[in-house]
Symmetry: C2
Subunit: 368 residues, 2 copies
């Protein structure tokens, strides 16, 4: 009985399926669709850094399809603190050594990997081998080869693999995706996207360390990259990139700032940047009839939309992570792929590999 | 009597000098300072393309220190049309062959070169040799070596050389320059600037032709480059750059799109782009306490300013070109350098040369 999903009655809500496959004319919050409370999936968070404890744990108090039932951490103090705070049974708390025993724990359906990037591959594969459904934070892994291994491991184990692209589950981004299809302002010519934050100096952040899969391109880089892709609804055909590091003692073998340029079919062009040097967050799309976009575009909240001629658009504030986990778990319950499966993470990582190849080769154009 | 300025009484208005050298707390329109009407300088426009006939000629109906008295054109129909429209005496109309005879014409004090970029050097030098004060449109020339020749020729002839950086004469840009000095929102970390317009395809525009000094980097490129410099108040120490051309039949040996990245002292970074593929125009400055900038930032009108926390700022609409020519001519009358002399054009062209060197060498970093 390792896979508790076998014991469940699967819902087949056509309207819920529509959430995953199409875009309604007014984007809505997918977490409004929920299964019967007693059907909530049990989730374990692996890695108890800030994103787990400060963001995902509070979000899991609001989810309707999933509840926090397990913790995996290398730090006993964190296990105690958060175990007590969220009434996690002791038998549902694991460390990195005994993690594989989670296979025998029927109360844990889903494992969410929130570790430093360098640990994603190992723990996704171990979670899959344990027969659990897997969610993995972005960036999916250190490179495309790792992503392919992870996808293969999940396929072999017959479990789902979802990547934590939370913006796909919130309405501003959904509206931008919809506009890529409907082109309400005519052809799209150019996309400008930048996401970054000012990291304290000096820092002990793992995100500043090469060994742990740090660097701006790995941390916030996926946001402008994703934005260029979903704003156009297309895949890039070539990339050029540049990396900058003003202080190698602080940024240990990683990029402090990366700029990259993406060419899309039909002469659409994206100029992107990501950085640890500045708080920056904007997405501007230049279309035939004017500019539209989001500013900021990738915040946990406080996103605002703008349209040509100074018009604005806004949606009610929501918990993006709750919506993401609810929809991912609904997809699991309904045995269908979620909107952001491993393949979506792989697509980004192929481009990030090309970004690094361009940098390594002195900035040359890499055909994708 | 080749230099009519010898016959003039020069004004020494301290307040006007302040305009040129300092920044008041509220930027103001420099054209409000004017000489006695009968002291207006006479200006001849060289090259009667759209910028001359559609922009500068109407502006010259509003200037207080300078008036349109001469035309230089290679097209007899244009000479007739605009000569009649603006009551230009026949003896003040020249073509490119007899242009040097302008030296003998005492009614023409200033010559404004508004030709394709490839012709700037020749006509600036010929104007200087004719003993006339010279204004030249941006970009100043095809490369830094040409700029140096032009500066040398004007110095030798004892005439002034001003570059048509009109934004230095309008209050939004002046406010951004002021903020670079005063840093009201703390340290500046990053600048994002992009300027471009969608060129019709196919095109017969000289701006799409290499021979005439075309290309996006030459046309709108100086705007983000200037913006990065005046937003930080600093000179870049290194540059990387990329050029793109989706259709070499349309864009004949020139860049359709150029992206470039500038590193400034103190770990300040600018990500810039310019293009003929999209209507784009924004300047965003990421500072410690938030983002500010102009959107658009380089229009002839319709510029808007924004500050952190959603505040906006605006100034009354004005004629930028009239303000520019009035202030340049006031500087000529007062025998002082204007705000944007040839040396300012040279600074940009040194960086544009480095941008092209980076591209030619496959995108590598060029130390300035």
């Amino acid at each position: 009985m390792n896979n508790p999903l076998n014991r469940r009655t699967f819902l087949t809500q056509l309207s819920a399926a529509a959430i995953a496959t199409g875009l309604s004319s007014i984007p809505f919050i997918s977490s409004s669709k929920s299964v019967n409370p007693q059907k909530k999936l049990g989730i374990a968070l692996v890695g108890l850094g800030y994103y787990s404890t400060g963001i995902l744990m509070p979000a899991l108090e609001k989810t309707e399809n999933v509840k926090l039932v397990g913790l995996v951490t290398g730090t006993p103090e964190k296990a105690k603190k958060y175990g007590e705070k969220y009434n996690i049974p002791k038998e549902n708390i694991y460390n990195y050594q005994n993690f594989d025993e989670i296979a025998k724990n029927p109360s844990i359906d889903v494992i969410y990997i929130v570790l430093p990037n360098s640990m994603h591959k190992e723990f996704v594969i171990r979670a899959a081998k344990a027969g659990k459904q897997v969610i993995c934070e972005k960036p999916m892994a250190l490179n495309a080869a790792e992503c392919r291994e992870m996808i293969g491991a999940c396929q072999k184990a017959g479990v789902s693999l979802s990547i934590g692209y939370r913006l796909h589950y919130e309405p501003y981004t959904q509206r931008i995706m919809q506009m890529a299809k409907e082109k309400p302002y005519g052809d799209i010519f150019m996309v400008h996207a930048s996401a970054g934050w000012r990291m304290g100096r000096p820092t002990e952040q793992w995100k500043a360390k090469s060994k742990l899969g740090g660097g701006a391109i790995m941390d916030m880089g996926p946001y402008p990259l994703q934005a260029a892709r979903y704003s156009t609804g297309m895949e890039p055909i070539a990339v050029t990139a540049q990396m900058f590091n003003s202080d190698p003692k602080v940024f240990d073998g990683v990029d402090e700032t990366t700029t990259f340029q993406l060419e899309f079919p039909g002469n659409i062009f994206a100029n992107c940047s990501t950085t640890f040097a500045a708080n920056v967050n904007f997405l501007t799309i230049n279309a035939q009839k004017g500019d539209y976009g989001l500013n900021p575009f990738s915040g946990y909240n406080g996103i605002h939309g703008f349209l040509p001629n100074g018009e604005k658009f806004d949606f009610p504030e929501m918990n993006q992570q709750a919506a993401q986990m609810d929809e991912m778990c609904l997809a699991i319950l309904e045995k269908r792929p979620c909107k952001t499966p491993g393949e979506e993470g792989l697509r980004d990582m192929i481009i990030i590999d090309a970004i690094r190849e361009s940098v390594r080769k002195g900035g040359i154009r890499i055909v994708l």
